[in-house]
Every structure is written in structure tokens, then in C-alpha cells.
């Protein structure tokens, strides 16, 4: 079976501007990333700021051009030409900040109409908008409202409805619930899960929230400085993380129960401090067999 999304050796480097506009070097935001997502799967990409996760999302959406490597949707490369309209129909994105991704001067209905007009939807557009709003559990008359009249959770539902308008196969969810309260987050996640089965969707779920990742994604890839350092089914990666960065990431999550605290890996403290990722990885490099030789540990 053809994977819905495949990234092959995807790389993106940015030039650093030196003095007087001269090139001061390059930074590799995404470094040789490869992954494949099968139909109906929820793939989670976990990373902190600077990991390259947003850059990857932007390249998949055609907002940024990769330096090298390939992106295939349903087996067809989307590079080479400008992102075509067909590509735009197959892949859609839900952005992080619901307040920013909806045009403040347009009503909900007008925002959801945008993809319908862009792709020349031939059916009854008003009815379709009503259907979409119902799909995300919003009343149909919300179509006349402006974004500032809606709560964060409602705005994000509108963003989801808009992304689903032309029946994409892949949804890229870029931190879709980070800006929402936890109780609202739970409802939006429930909605997203329901839609996978109902609409036969596939998700690329990008987040820094590991607890959420554990519950929502099926396969997870841990992104550090532009590279996937560990990947696998979410239960096994969390139960037995192999890479030091994954261990540090899971150990850093503030949890609310003893059971979860027991699950977190032990991280050796350096000088009484929790080490940064660089320090931890340097430690591993310098002593290939670190024993349990430090006095205290995190968690």
C-alpha cells in the first residue's frame, strides 16, 4: 500500500546573514529526515523549539521549498513545480494559533468558503458549509459570526472545518491545541479522533506536549536539531526510550500522578542541575558507558 505521506532525506538549510549582508554560514533546520505515514495512521512528530518541526510542516504545505530531498503525497512528488492545486486539495493544515489563522475581518462562513471557491466546488456551497460546521459540532448559524466572537476552542473547530472542506487525505496538525485550555483541548482531540474513522483521514500530528502525544499518536518520531533521533510505536518508545534525548524529554514532563512519575526515566544531574540536551549528549559521547555514578537523579 502506498503511504499517504513520505519524506525522503528531506533537508532544509537557511543562510545566516553576516555583516553587510554577506553570508555568515548556514543553519541546518531540517537534516536528512525520512518517514512514511500509512493510510489512516496518526503519526506524531515530537520536538521542542528549534527542532525543525515547523519547517517540516511548512515544506509539506508548500510554504517553504526544501534544499534537498523529496516529499511524496500518495506516491507523487510535490516538488519541482509550484505546489499545484491538486496538492493543495490532498493536504491541509490546522495551525497552532486559532486566533491568527482565521482572518479577523471575515466571518466564519466566508473563511470556510475560501477553499470551496479556490477549488471550484460544484455543489451547494452554503449547504456544504453547514455540513462542515455540524461535523465539528458547531451550530450552523455560527457561519455569520466573526472570529473575535468565538472562544479559542470554537475558533479551532472552525479551522478544522475549513481544512476538511475539500476532503483532503492528509491533515497536518501543527500544535493544534497548544493555545487552548486543557478541558477544551480534550474535546478538540476527541473530535479529531472521531474524524479519522468517519472521514478516513490520516494525520501528521506535531507537538511538544508528550503526554498528549502518548494518547493521540500511534507512531512517534522524536525530532532533535532537525533529525529524527528515535521512532517507533508510541507505547514502546515511551516505555523504553533508547536515545538520551528521548529520555530527557520524557523525564521533563510535569505529571499529575505517581504512576506517571514512576514511568519517567532517571536522568543524571550534572552539578546538581538538570542537564541541557547538549550537555547530556556530550556526556554520553565522553563516557560511552555511563554507570549509575551520580548521587542524585531527576525524577
Amino acid at each position: 500500500m502506498m503511504p499517504v505521506l513520505e519524506l525522503r532525506n528531506l533537508t532544509k538549510t537557511f543562510p545566516i546573514k553576516g555583516a553587510f549582508g554577506r553570508r555568515g554560514g548556514t543553519v541546518r533546520a531540517v537534516n536528512d529526515v525520512s518517514l512514511a505515514i500509512a493510510n489512516g495512521q496518526i503519526y506524531g512528530l515530537a520536538g521542542e523549539s528549534g527542532s525543525g518541526k515547523s519547517t517540516i510542516a511548512r515544506m509539506i504545505m508548500g510554504l517553504t521549498v526544501p534544499t534537498s530531498g523529496d516529499i511524496l503525497i500518495d506516491g507523487v512528488s510535490i516538488l519541482g513545480k509550484q505546489a499545484s492545486l491538486a496538492h493543495r486539495q490532498k493536504v491541509q493544515m490546522v495551525f497552532q494559533n486559532p486566533g491568527a489563522s482565521l482572518n479577523p475581518r471575515r466571518t466564519v462562513g466566508q473563511s470556510v468558503m475560501v477553499p470551496l471557491s479556490a477549488h471550484s466546488y460544484s455543489g451547494n456551497r452554503a449547504a456544504r458549509i453547514g455540513d462542515l460546521l455540524e461535523m465539528v459540532q458547531l451550530p450552523a448559524h455560527f457561519a455569520d459570526r466573526y472570529p473575535h466572537e468565538l472562544s479559542g476552542g470554537q475558533k479551532q473547530r472552525v479551522a478544522i472545518a475549513r481544512a476538511l472542506a475539500v476532503e483532503p487525505s492528509l491533515l497536518v496538525l501543527d500544535e493544534p491545541t497548544s493555545a487552548l485550555d486543557v478541558s477544551v483541548q480534550a474535546k478538540v482531540i476527541d473530535l479529531l479522533e472521531g474524524l479519522v474513522a468517519d472521514l478516513g483521514l490520516t494525520y501528521l500530528f506535531i507537538s511538544h506536549d508528550l503526554s498528549l502525544m502518548r494518547n493521540f499518536a500511534q507512531t512517534v518520531g522524536i525530532l532533535y536539531l532537525g533529525q529524527i533521533v528515535e521512532t517507533g510505536p508510541v507505547a514502546s518508545v515511551f516505555a523504553d526510550p533508547q536515545h538520551d534525548y528521548t529520555r530527557l524529554l520524557i523525564a521533563s514532563v510535569p505529571v499529575i500522578s505517581e504512576a506517571e512519575a514512576a514511568l519517567r526515566p532517571h536522568i543524571p544531574l550534572i552539578n546538581g542541575e538538570i542537564p541541557t540536551a547538549e550537555d547530556l549528549l556530550a556526556l554520553r559521547q565522553n563516557s560511552p558507558n555511563p554507570g549509575p555514578n551520580t548521587k542524585e537523579a531527576l525524577s
Binding site: E48, I189, R214, L249, V255, I256, A259, E273, T276
Partner: protein
């Protein structure tokens, strides 16, 4: 034993566009000396308004204090003359701000900003310290927040520091005048989770070493469990439940608290 900080039956209303709404209803909470207390609530719960009222930075029109008292060391902050209030603020009671990006002035060095704060705090307390002594104190607090090279950090501009380091600077700012109560407003929310873990551990260590009282204001239940022994839960302007953190999380009594805890995703995955 009376608490260091005691909020008693605080009620606050806000008036916008000619309409008045009650945002705090009879809020009461106590922070004993040296204790670590959390005030947790989602957006719109009123926790920010409570914090601003305690710190005295609530904009009085459009807000209005309908009733109640905020006692610090037994004295009511709400009825205190402004000059006495000024003396308390930033000295006995100080705040760690939320956003390290916007809370530091980008055009001044760290030592300039901390130095200025210290100068005015000294003036309010009637203390006399010369420039060199002030700089020494600035280096001292930067070392307290575990900066590896306090002199270099002091001479730097905020833009040269990472997010985690800036948050430590904000904590250092709060420690300058040896406060007895630290109010932390969503510390680490704007940071990565690994950096946040470092900052929370730092806060816990500092609070223990200096025997400070800590009032942690947050929406993150995990942060509450990591840092606080006693928790107040707020919803729609009211305290709906309070108790010892472990007991509260294990057996919440109030329906809202229960739904809040149930909504938090677990690292252990879904239970059956």
C-alpha cells in the same frame, strides 16, 4: 499561626462598555510562611485578577474591588497608603513574571536593569548601597539562579541570552531584595519542556534554600503537582476546591476539579 499572605473574601468587578461583570466572588486563600501554594485555573477563571489584586497592579477603573481584604503580615494591602504598599512591592513580596521575552527591556543590559530595580528598592527601604555594592548583589543573585558565568550574563543584553536564561534573570530580579513571598506567574509556560523542567527545579531549590513562601499561579496541573504542597482550584471567579495537592489529585471532591483532572492526558497512556 497567621499566614504570611491571607486573601479574605475578595470580590472584584469589571466594567466595560457600560456593563459591569463580577469577576471574583468571595475568593479566599492563605499562604503560610515558607509554604508552597498553587492557584490553578483555566483562562477566565480569575487567577490573573487575583494575582494582580495581591500585587496591587490591578487597573482600578475599569476594575473595582467590591469587598474583602488582602492581608500581608496582618496588614491589609487594600487599605494601606500607597507609599507603604510601594515599600512592600518588590521587596517583601515579589513577582516572577511570565514572559521572559517581553518582561526585559531589550535596550538595557541585565546589570543595568537589575541595578535600577535594586536602587529603587533600596531607596524605598531606606538602605544605602553604592554602585559597586549593587553590582556585587546583582552578581550574587545571578549566581543564586545557577548562572555559570554571572559577570558575563550581567554585562549581556537580553537578546544575547536564551529563553531559559532570561527566565532565570526574571527569577533573579524577584530575589534582589530578599523577599519572603515569591509569586510566580506561569513560570516556564513560554519555554520548552526541558527548559521548563530546569526552571521548576530551580524554583523548588531556591524556595527551600531561602525558606521562601511560594504562590504559584498556573493552568498546568503537572506543574502544580511538581511544585506545590497545597492547591486552590479556581473556576469562574470562585475557589471551588482546595486541599493538599496529593490528596486533591487522588480524590477530588468537586465536579469541576474532577473534570479538569480527567481532561489531562496521561504519560502512561489511556487507562481502561
Amino acid at each position: 499561626m497567621t499566614a504570611l499572605l491571607s486573601v479574605q473574601n475578595l470580590s472584584v468587578s469589571f466594567t466595560t462598555y457600560g456593563r459591569t461583570a463580577q469577576v471574583l466572588h468571595n475568593v479566599s486563600l492563605d499562604v503560610p510562611e515558607g509554604a508552597q501554594i498553587a492557584l490553578v485555573g483555566e483562562s477566565g477563571s480569575g487567577k490573573s485578577v487575583t494575582m494582580k489584586t495581591i500585587m496591587g497592579i490591578l487597573p482600578i477603573p475599569p476594575a473595582r474591588i467590591e469587598g474583602g481584604a488582602v492581608l500581608f503580615d496582618g496588614r491589609d494591602l487594600l487599605t494601606m497608603p500607597e507609599r507603604d504598599r510601594q515599600r512592600l512591592r518588590g521587596t517583601a513580596m515579589s513577582m516572577v513574571f511570565q514572559d521572559p521575552m517581553s518582561s526585559l527591556n531589550p535596550v538595557f543590559t541585565i546589570k543595568d536593569q537589575l541595578g535600577t530595580i535594586l536602587k529603587y528598592a533600596d531607596r524605598r527601604l531606606g538602605r544605602d548601597r553604592n554602585t559597586r555594592a549593587r553590582l556585587a548583589r546583582v552578581h550574587e543573585v545571578l549566581a543564586q539562579v545557577r548562572m555559570r558565568d554571572p559577570e558575563r550574563v550581567a554585562a549581556a543584553f537580553p537578546v544575547q541570552l536564551s529563553g531559559g536564561m532570561r527566565q532565570r534573570v526574571l527569577i533573579a530580579m524577584a530575589l534582589l531584595s530578599e523577599p519572603r513571598l515569591l509569586i510566580a506567574d506561569e513560570p516556564g509556560t513560554a519555554l520548552d519542556v526541558t527548559t521548563q523542567a530546569q526552571i521548576l527545579k530551580l524554583l523548588k531549590d531556591l524556595v527551600r534554600e531561602n525558606r521562601l513562601a511560594l504562590l504559584m499561579i498556573t493552568h498546568n496541573l503537572g506543574v502544580v503537582r511538581e511544585t506545590s504542597a497545597y492547591t486552590y482550584v479556581m473556576n469562574k471567579g470562585r475557589i471551588v476546591e482546595h486541599g493538599h495537592t496529593a490528596a486533591l489529585f487522588d480524590a477530588p471532591r468537586d465536579a469541576y476539579t474532577r473534570s479538569l483532572i480527567a481532561a489531562v492526558p496521561r504519560l502512561t497512556g489511556r487507562e481502561a
